[in-house]
């Protein structure tokens, strides 16, 4: 232990690879019955040799001429509708609204004479989480999941989440520069008349970058007591106003569970003494012409439940930036030719906006703030308020 602590080190490492297949398809998505679902196909990006120039590394992409189909063992055929957009990743949309749950399904992908397919698979029915729990401490908010499953149902769970959150800019602008005057000669501004600046509130979206996997195979009950799957800093803007998380729960097959578990382990290896050796992971999509061809991804046949949880700003510990330290004070004095500083127009062109800061001892002062401090759209969000969003600031 002492050795590991005192003298062990981790260094960046790179190695030239020379056994990279020309084209390895990646199938991403599941056959989710009960509605529309999307399955995409893309190609692995090989690491290649360090000697390869960027020009030589031509991206390998799937063909737009490809065709993806899902077959049901009752004879139904579900064609995939290729979505427009995307070059490296081509998505196919399926309508499984009427697909029966007691049948078997298989996916077939055809491209340039090659056929890739899965075997026939049963449907894994998704349970519905009982509750999305919220806990917090001084620094973080923890979102967990509780579930009491049917003992006869799948004991292998996989879920992802999507987040939507409302946040606001650091400062609400109270004044706007009056461009009707020469701002190189004089500072002139007008007061905000609307109750809320249009770029003060925004909505952001994000999604999990990897699935959460849980198995209850070793438990006495098919129960997830509480599995924390999302941790948010209380200083994050995500929870400053209103936050919503949609958990997409899937009951998956045992093989699918261990595929994804190994997939995550392979992609987040620690390299420690006891870390399992990473191994080549093939999915359940196989080339019919060349079964040894590397094909990646695991397509399961599942149903999906969505559980939503809203969290208001009660847990937020966000504070606006300390303007006295970080915002340059507006110091333009046109009557003093010796005065240093930029003109209002120059501040504006550099991306700053005037912000009125109330100061108890000296009265309100105007400071220059970066534009992103008063414009929430510059922090990743947009003005697309979800239709069912519960808050309004109009």
């Amino acid at each position: 232990m002492f050795a590991l602590v005192a003298v062990s080190c981790v260094y960046p490492f790179d190695v030239e690879t020379d056994q990279v297949p020309q084209k390895a398809f990646v199938f991403d998505g599941d056959i989710v019955l009960g509605g529309w679902c999307t399955i995409s196909v893309s190609c692995m990006t090989p690491f290649g040799k360090s000697s390869d120039s960027e020009e030589e590394k031509e991206p390998v992409v799937p063909s737009r001429a490809g065709k993806m189909t899902v077959y049901c063992n009752n004879g139904e055929v579900y064609p995939g509708f290729q979505l427009t957009g995307g070059v490296e990743k081509i998505s196919y949309q399926f309508d499984f609204a009427e697909a029966p749950l007691d049948k078997q399904y298989r996916l077939v992908y055809e491209e340039e004479g090659s056929v890739y397919s899965t075997s026939w698979m049963d449907v894994s029915i998704a349970p519905t989480p009982d509750e999305i729990t919220v806990e917090y401490d001084a620094d973080y908010v923890y979102l967990g999941l509780k579930l009491k499953g049917d003992d006869s149902a799948s004991r292998y769970y996989r879920w992802n989440y999507e987040e939507t959150y409302e946040y606001h800019a650091d400062f609400m602008p109270d004044y706007y520069l009056d461009f009707s005057v020469d701002l190189n000669r004089k500072l002139a501004y007008i007061e905000r008349t609307a109750p809320v600046d249009p770029n003060y509130y925004c909505w952001g979206k994000s999604a999990s970058r990897e699935s959460t996997l849980i198995s209850t195979e070793n438990l006495s009950e098919n129960t997830i007591a509480k599995q924390v799957f999302r941790t948010i800093s209380r200083s994050s803007k995500r929870i400053m106003e209103m936050y919503r998380i949609d958990v997409r729960m899937k009951g998956i097959s045992r093989d699918g569970y261990y595929f994804h578990k190994t997939l995550l382990a392979n992609s987040n290896t620690s390299g420690s003494l006891f870390a399992p050796t990473p191994s080549e992971m093939r999915g359940n999509v196989v080339s019919e012409q060349n079964p040894s061809e590397l094909v990646l991804g695991y397509v399961d046949v599942i149903t999906e439940s969505v559980t939503t949880k809203f969290i208001d700003g009660r847990y937020s510990r966000w504070r606006s930036p300390d303007y006295q330290l970080f915002l340059p004070e507006f110091n333009f004095r046109p009557d003093d030719p010796e005065a240093e500083g930029f003109t209002p127009m120059q501040w504006y062109d550099m991306g700053y906006r005037p912000v009125l800061i109330p100061k108890e001892s000296e009265g309100d002062s105007v400071y220059w703030a970066e534009k992103r401090c008063v414009d929430c759209t510059l922090e990743g969000g947009n003005k697309n308020k979800p239709s069912d969003w519960p808050t309004t600031h109009e």
Binding site: M1, V5, V7, S270, F274, E280, M281, R282
Partner: protein, 1051 residues
């Protein structure tokens, strides 16, 4: 308590022999000498003229009253160090020391020395006293010398020092002790402390004495001058009528002295005053004949006669025990061979050997790596015994000689056997300075590991679970502590280490690659000794000694760590803050000798490891091994029996803490073992070994339990597995001629799985042969088949606490191994350097690899997660080795390959598409150098160099977006390699000085591990850090120089 081995070193050169009774001397057999027997006179080498004899004048003619017989015309001298009479036969023979207790008196020139205790003066000390004056008031003095290191200004005259210590800085002197004087008074003797005491004996003659001293100018003279002169004046009686001579003369009539002699000795019938005519002239006929029990005879250049000549007998057998002069313990693995006939034998675990030779003159060699070679002339008249005591090798400072073991290797069919002494092991630098057996083993050719700080090792393409690791016959399932940083064996209690990697004896089975046999000491039968070592991370101790002198010995050792305090002091941002890691182990051995033929040994070993680096995980594993072994030697030489019963327990537990899901998983192995081995020489050409072995297994592959009441984890246990592995085995060594010999062994092994009923059985062959066209050249070939019924299931590179063991059953077949090997060996007669070239080919079947992504923990259908693979391994091992001289050590280069291939076709899931793939430990080029250069007997430096090709790994060959983030696509299994490994270590060793009277001694090793600071990769890995862009990293376990100092206290 004194340090036994220091004495040994000082007495090292003669390499004393102890001979045991061959045949009782017939009373009245005038052809036999009863005088010329006894311990070989010491033969210390002095740089100057110092001597342990009473004076430097050498031997002088005299008489000896020995065992009731008076011998005249004998060259005599007195060993003043050991207080022994030395007699020198005529001819080019070394002096002997007849048993002191049977010497009444002897003369040397005009000096008369008497054994006062023998003559009935019980108050006298042991040894010989020179009679200075005899009469009514006799005076005797005893001249003693003793050894002392760096004595300073003490009494006594420095007369020399031990040569081999000259350059060590510690000079050991032979010094005169103050002489002991006795003066007679009323029929007894009292101490004479000063000149004044003489006057006290003659109170009424004080003035006369004073005047005599004055007239003779004796005021300032020494006692040596004063006493004889004054006494001759005071007591002018005739010497031969004095008190001493009266006692001496009684022996001339053949009677005893007094009614109760101090040492009762029966004078043999036919005692005469003179030796038979021509006794000293007919050296070969009358040279040392070994006769009496417990009489020690020694000398390398003397001819010893064993047995009684019998008409018609062309061959006779010599047998005996070889013991360590340091502690009296038997020495296993000592090579015994005869130069004339090239006959070879090796001592067994009890130190017993037996060798059959043609009657007549032979030249026996005894060799053990760490001991001084011993060469003895033998006149073999009939079967008899010869016990040998070997001393620590100190030839490091002497010119290189051809080692007897080197030559012996040309005479045996054995190949692929590596033996490493603890002395050698202690010199090999390790990461933390503590002598490490496994690390030393890994410096040998053909032995590899997947990386530093890894628990297992790989022998000739075998997996880490394919090595049978035995500790005093017990099976050790996890041979390392702290993830492989320390080996499980306390170096202080280990006697020797043997690794069989090619010719595996038929008595061993159950693993297909190698047998590593580690044996502990039996305990010092003479006195209590021990060691104590204290270090930054670990401390250890051992103590050994007699429980019942001559009968029962014990040895107790222990180690422990206290590394938690370091972990607590690590910064909180480190992942290890507050973690815990440590181990402890204990060894106990008790050996009881019922008689010369029967002994019983109890061995126990316990070890426990625990570590936790995060709040969510806790790992523990432990070993418990107990064995009882009975050894019996039959009357016919070389015929012996070993019976042992043992229990081996191994428990592996890890605890996982998750909200309401806290649980532990335990796997364990309980193994009982019964084994009997008989070795019996059938004739001069055949030696048969046979026996049987039974192993009972009860194995829990997984027990899951909730750790608390709030845990929802359901208790669950995988089915306990029961099985019996039984074997009967026999092997015969057939020596056709000096040049050609074979060994054939057969092991019938069977395995019954009780839980999933299935029986497996197979005959295993163990064949080897050698052809030796010259005494220093040999060619050997061997072929082994082996079978393994227990398997380590792992998906990690190194042995991990998450691993589990699995027995063969209906679903999992035994692993079979076949190895053919060919070797050529040459010993340079000029330099003593050994060269060897061995090549091998090995095939394996039904070795278990895991499916990609397989879940191996708590899998009740584990067979489904595994795939049988076949393997092929081949290689060439070249080694140059020098075991003597100032510079000794070895260098080896190995080119080897190991490939695996899945045996079943699982379609797309078949590992690497069903092609051959590199084993995780396939490292083609392997260069190892282990050198030690001894500047002096105390100071030496050690260098260790290790280079090997990087091991195969499975690495990402690309990335792809999947499930919301970047994922990694991996290459085929083990398709790439990590960078090559190179490490150089150096150490300075300071061995203890020879402070004979010191109660404790210390040794210090100062070294640097990874001297060049090379950042050797242990593993490489890639991570997408939660779905983002992938990055590659390399883990280096010992990424910089690691200086260390190791201090050991020996008492």
């Amino acid at each position: 308590m004194k340090m036994k081995w220091v004495i040994t070193v000082l007495l090292a050169v003669p390499l004393a022999l102890h001979a045991q009774e061959v045949k009782p001397v017939k009373d009245g057999d005038e052809s036999l000498s009863v005088l010329y027997r006894g311990r070989l006179a010491s033969s210390f080498t002095f740089r100057y003229n110092g001597t342990y004899y009473v004076d430097p004048e050498g031997f002088k003619a005299g008489e000896v009253m020995y065992n009731g017989k008076l011998y005249s015309g004998v060259e005599t001298n007195l060993d003043a160090y050991q207080q022994l009479l030395c007699v020198k036969p005529k001819g080019d023979y070394a002096p002997l020391t007849p048993e002191r207790d049977q010497v009444a008196w002897f003369t040397r020139g005009d000096q008369l020395f008497v054994n006062l205790r023998y003559l009935g003066f019980e108050q006298a000390s042991e040894g010989f006293f020179e009679v200075i004056h005899d009469g009514e008031t006799p005076v005797v003095k005893q001249v003693m010398k003793y050894l002392e290191s760096n004595p300073g200004d003490k009494n006594g005259e420095v007369i020399g020092y031990y040569a081999d210590d000259y350059s060590s800085g510690v000079i050991t002197y032979f010094r005169y002790a103050p002489k002991t004087w006795f003066i007679g008074e009323d029929g007894s003797l009292t101490r004479l402390k000063s000149k004044r005491d003489v006057a006290k004996r003659f109170k009424n003659r004080k003035s006369e004495i004073r005047e005599y001293v004055k007239n003779m100018n004796l005021e300032d003279v020494s006692n040596d001058v004063y006493v004889p002169l004054v006494m001759s004046m005071l007591d002018p009686s005739r010497p031969d009528s004095g008190m001493i001579h009266k006692r001496m003369n009684q022996w001339h009539s053949g009677g005893n002295i007094g009614s109760e002699p101090t040492i009762p000795v029966k004078a043999p019938a036919g005692s005469g005053r003179d030796l038979p005519a021509g006794y000293f002239d007919e050296v070969k006929e009358s040279a040392e004949r070994l006769s009496d029990n417990n009489i020690s005879v020694t000398y390398q250049n003397k001819l010893y006669i064993i047995g009684t000549r019998q008409s018609g007998a062309s061959r006779a057998t010599i047998s005996g025990t070889v013991t360590d002069a340091e502690n009296g313990e038997p020495l296993p693995g000592v090579v015994v061979f005869d130069d004339r006939t090239s006959t070879y034998a090796r001592t067994n675990s009890s130190g017993r050997y037996s060798i059959t030779l043609p009657v007549g003159e032979n030249y026996l060699n005894f060799n053990e790596t760490s001991k001084e070679d011993l060469h003895i002339n033998i006149q073999l008249d009939g079967s008899g015994g010869l016990d040998v005591v070997m001393s620590e090798r100190i030839t490091a400072l002497k010119p290189a000689v051809v080692s007897a073991e080197s030559m012996a290797n040309h005479r045996t069919t054995e190949m692929g056997i590596e033996k490493v002494s603890m002395k050698t092991i202690s010199k090999i630098p390790t990461a933390f300075g503590e002598g490490d057996i496994l690390k030393a083993v890994m410096t040998l050719p053909g032995v590899k590991s997947v990386g530093e700080a890894s628990g297992g090792f790989n022998v000739r393409g075998g997996a880490s679970d394919q090595n049978l690791i035995l500790f005093n016959g017990n099976t050790i399932y996890n041979p390392t502590h702290m993830f492989g940083i320390f080996s499980s064996f306390n170096p202080d209690i280990v006697e020797n280490v043997e690794l069989y990697k090619s010719s595996i004896p038929a008595e061993y089975g159950g693993r297909i690659s190698s047998v590593l046999s580690v044996k502990s000491k039996e305990g010092n039968p003479e006195k209590v000794t021990g060691t104590l070592g204290i270090g930054l991370l670990t401390s250890r101790f051992h103590i050994e000694g007699p429980l019942s002198r001559g009968k029962t010995t014990f040895i107790l050792g222990g180690r422990m760590t206290y590394s938690d305090w370091i972990l607590k002091r690590l910064p909180e941002e480190s992942n290890y803050h507050g973690g815990k890691a440590g181990f402890g182990d204990a060894n106990l051995g008790i050996t009881h000798k019922f008689d010369e033929s029967n002994s019983l040994r109890l061995s126990a070993y316990w070890a426990k490891d625990r570590f936790a680096f995060s709040e969510g995980e806790d790992f523990n594993y432990s070993n418990l091994d107990v064995s009882l072994a009975w050894k019996h030697d039959f009357e016919d030489p070389g015929h012996n029996l070993r019976v042992s019963a043992s229990y081996d327990g191994f428990v592996n537990t890890f605890d996982i803490y998750q909200y309401m899901n806290d649980y532990s998983v335990t796997t364990n192995i309980n193994q009982g073992n019964l084994k009997a081995v008989i070795r019996k020489p059938l004739s001069d050409a055949h030696v048969l070994s046979y026996g049987a072995e039974g192993v009972f297994y009860a194995l829990d592959p997984g027990i899951m339990k909730p750790l608390n009441d709030s845990s929802l984890v359901a208790p669950r246990s995988l089915d306990r597995e029961y099985a019996v592995e039984a074997a009967a085995f026999a092997s015969d060594t057939y020596t056709i001629s000096e040049k050609l010999s074979f060994e054939a062994g057969l092991r019938l092994s069977g395995f019954m799985s009780a839980s999933k009923r299935r029986f497996y059985g197979i005959p295993e062959l163990r064949l080897s042969g050698k052809y030796s066209p010259k005494e220093n050249i040999s060619l050997k070939a061997g072929f082994n088949t082996l079978r393994q019924y227990i398997h380590l299931i792992s998906n990690t590179s190194a042995i991990s606490p998450m691993d589990t063991w699995k027995l063969s059953d209906a679903s999992i077949k035994p692993t079979d191994g076949y190895q053919a090997a060919l070797g050529g060996y040459w010993t340079s007669l000029d330099t003593g350097i050994d060269f060897s070239l061995e090549t091998y080919w090995k095939n394996m079947y039904n070795y278990l690899d895991y499916k990609s992504g397989a879940e191996l923990t708590m899998n009740d259908n584990l067979a489904e997660a595994l795939v049988p693979v076949k393997g092929k391994a081949y290689g060439v091992e070249f080694m140059i080795k020098k075991t003597t001289g100032k510079l000794n050590g070895w260098a080896s280069y190995t080119y080897s390959r190991t490939f695996l291939r899945e045996m079943t076709d699982r379609g797309v899931a078949t590992i690497n598409g069903g092609d051959w793939y590199q084993a995780p430990y396939d490292k083609p080029h392997d260069l190892k150098v282990a050198l030690n250069y001894a500047f002096t007997h105390r100071y030496s430096i050690s260098l260790n160099l290790d280079y090997s090709t990087g091991r195969p790994v499975t690495i990402p060959i690309g990335s792809y977006l999947y499930d919301g983030g970047y994922r990694l696509a991996y290459s085929e299994r083990n398709a790439y390699r990590i960078p090559d490994y190179f490490r150089l270590d150096a150490a300075i060793n300071i061995d203890p000085g020879h402070y004979l009277k010191a109660l404790t001694h210390s040794s210090i090793t100062i070294g640097v591990y990874n001297l060049t600071g090379r950042k050797n990769p242990y593993s490489v890995y890639y991570t997408t850090d939660g779905g983002f862009v992938p990055n590659g990293y390399m883990v280096s376990v010992f990424a910089t120089q690691i200086p260390y100092i190791n201090f050991n206290l020996i008492f």
